[in-house]
């Protein structure tokens, strides 16, 4: 018995001081994260409107799905879960997330491999490559909006001159190209971040095993797939989770670049629309809650499937 009646044991003292150090952050997190989240979930079960934020009444699941049978015998389904606009937004979001994260991971890893090699001016290149990521999204979105402009955009001009296209493309306005435009800008902006995370993973790999592989005469491609990739995988998985979380709630880029295109409306965009523009506050809250649930499911699945260890190495 390490603890006779002389006050708390060392372990208890440590736990207590740890609690006091954590308390400010826990309170802040509760105020800015947990409380708004709980409020939103609460709103989604009421008929709250923008003009009457505190007067909402509990209406159960009606914002999600309500089934009413009319006198004529017709059954009417209403609610987010049967709203085609919502499912279009879900599809857009998932498509955008999977495509952008895949492209960014592959490109980011390639860039990281280059940056991991030793060459003159490496420090400068490493810093320079981060510039797109450091620019605020609003700024880069506006900048790209101009470059993608159908009449005056530099992209159309270059492609016309090179003969790649025969007539000007309305990148952001046309439904066929809107998603591509968004993807281009997002990849441009976020690949550096991915590259940085991959680079951190690559630098954890000891150099000497590459020398051993060189002495053994193992082909570089085989070294990449059999040595580098398995060893960088844990870092890569974590990077992909971060990016996935980010991509699933994409808002600012699309709001600036293609605000009203049905081809790019995502879950965040459509819930904001309902919350503010259409004065369907409770309905928008329901969509926000669904967005939260979908992200949670997505990430849990990924962590479970990839057996990602987020606890920092474990063992």
């Amino acid at each position: 018995m390490p603890n006779p009646d002389h006050g708390p044991s060392l372990q208890q003292q440590r736990a207590r001081s740890a609690f006091w150090f954590l308390a400010p952050m826990l309170i802040a997190l509760f105020c800015v994260a947990a409380w708004p989240l709980l409020r939103t979930i609460w709103f989604s079960f009421t008929d709250t409107t923008l003009s009457n934020l505190y007067g909402g009444k509990w209406i159960g699941f009606d914002n999600y799905l309500s089934i009413r049978t009319l006198e004529s015998g017709r059954v009417i389904y209403r609610g987010t879960l049967v709203d085609p606009a919502w499912w279009n937004a879900v599809w857009n979001t998932v498509r955008f997330s999977v495509l952008s994260v895949t492209i960014e991971t592959v490109l980011g890893l390639m860039v990281a491999l280059v940056l991991n090699a030793e060459f003159k001016g490496r420090g400068l290149v490493r810093a320079a490559i981060l510039i797109p990521w450091a620019i605020p999204t609003i700024v880069s979105a506006k900048m790209w909006a101009w470059m993608l402009n159908d009449q005056f955009g530099i992209l159309n001009d270059i492609m016309l001159r090179l003969g790649l296209i025969t007539e000007k493309i309305a990148w952001t306005a046309s439904t066929e190209t809107a998603m591509t435009a968004v993807l281009i800008v997002d990849v441009w902006k976020t690949t550096p971040f991915m590259a940085l995370l991959c680079l951190a993973g690559l630098q954890m790999i000891p150099r000497d095993i590459y020398e051993a592989a060189r002495v053994d005469g193992i082909h570089p491609v085989k070294v990449f797939f059999k040595v580098t990739l398995p060893l960088v995988r844990p870092a890569l998985m974590v990077a992909v989770i971060f990016r996935m979380l980010d991509a699933l709630r994409i808002f600012d880029l699309i709001y600036v670049l293609t605000p009203n295109s049905a081809a790019t409306k995502t879950m965040s965009i459509i819930s904001r629309e309902n919350l503010i523009d259409f004065d369907k506050f409770a309905y928008g809250s329901a969509q926000s809650t669904l967005l939260f649930a979908i992200i949670a499911i997505f990430v849990s699945l990924y962590i479970w499937l990839g057996k990602v260890d987020l606890s920092g190495g474990g063992k």
Binding site: I209, E211, V215, D216, G217, K222, V227
Partner: protein, 334 residues
């Protein structure tokens, strides 16, 4: 099984000359040890021979064939690194077999060679483990095993034992020596900064200093006839005693060297007189530290046990045939 010839080999990193023109012949089947103080260029020289570093100047030939521009894997070498350099995510078996799968050997052949090497090194019960599940000594054996299965012309070792504790170092040293005997005729080049390792393993030792060869010879040659003050001080444990000033001048040299076992304690007309200031008893030997008023105390080896209390005045006489005389430039006067 290769004869290796270094002709005026140089290496520079930018403006810094690290290897300053080395001429050396390593014979077929020889166990050659590079030894020298930290930073003298041992690892660099080994990496030049392996091809991991580009040669700046001079010629490197294997069996008469110039290999300066041959990539490492074409030189027929195998290297054992100080840090083991095992692939952390591969089982021991895969670590050893990884380099061979390319060599167009059949699957059976690979399996046989890996198990043979594992048996030789007594790691055959560890083949299914990951490197992190092994002790330091076992890891080093896996690294050596990986080199063996490649069946190289030349083995290169870069301080393979420096991460092991003292007892394990002695045991593994023995195994490397046995390995060299059992693989008759394989040339081995071994880098160490530990002169005991060098003395016990080497057929011949190459003492390096500041990017240059100081002396090449068998352990006995280096011990008995050092070619410079540096080699005399570097080889042997405890260090050779060096006397300067009057005692050296009396023998017509700037520095007089004498090993601890070549000094006799005598009362009959001793050459030097001094007081015992310290003693180290190693069980088999007793080392007396005697201050004769000429800088560092002289270390005198005394076989058996003869308790001489601190502060006793003793007379010392060196065995004249074992005196080493060096001039002001540190070169021997013979």
């Amino acid at each position: 099984m290769a004869q290796i010839q270094l002709k005026n080999l140089t290496k520079a990193y930018g403006a810094v000359q690290v290897i300053k023109g080395i001429d050396l012949e390593i014979r077929k089947g020889e166990f050659m040890v590079f030894v020298g103080p930290s930073g003298c260029g041992k690892s660099t020289l080994l990496r030049l021979i392996s091809g991991l570093e580009e040669i700046t100047g001079g010629d490197l030939t294997f069996d008469g064939e110039r290999v300066n521009n041959l990539i490492p894997s074409k030189r027929g070498i195998a290297m054992v690194f100080q840090s083991y350099a095992l692939y952390p995510h591969m089982k021991v078996y895969d670590n050893m077999a990884f380099g061979m799968k390319l060599a167009k050997s059949g699957a059976d052949d690979i399996r046989r060679r890996v198990t043979d090497a594992a048996k030789l090194l007594q790691i055959d019960h560890l083949l299914d483990r990951l490197p992190k599940e092994l002790s330091g000594g076992q890891r080093q054996r896996v690294a050596i095993g990986r080199a063996i299965v490649r069946d190289p012309r030349v083995f290169l070792f870069d301080e393979p034992l420096s991460n092991l504790d003292a007892a394990l170092r002695v045991a593994t040293r023995l195994e490397i020596a046995k390995l060299h005997h059992s693989m008759s005729g394989v040339t081995m080049i071994y880098v160490t900064h530990d002169q005991v390792e060098a003395m016990t393993l080497a057929d011949r030792i190459c003492v390096l200093r500041d990017g240059r060869v100081e002396q090449v010879g068998t352990p006995a040659e280096l011990y008995e006839a050092p070619n410079s003050l540096f080699v005399a001080g570097f080889i042997g444990s405890p260090k050779m005693n060096f006397l300067t000033g009057a005692p050296a001048a009396a023998h017509g040299c700037t520095t007089l060297g004498i090993r601890s076992e070549h000094i006799t304690i005598t009362d009959a007309g001793p050459l030097w007189q001094g007081t015992v200031v310290h003693a180290e008893d190693l069980g088999s030997d007793n080392f007396l530290f005697v201050d004769i008023g000429a800088g560092e105390p002289l270390i005198v080896r005394q076989p058996g046990k003869l308790a001489i209390p601190y502060g006793t005045r003793v007379g010392l006489t060196p065995q004249p045939q074992h005196l080493h005389r060096f001039d002001a430039a540190g070169l021997p006067i013979r």
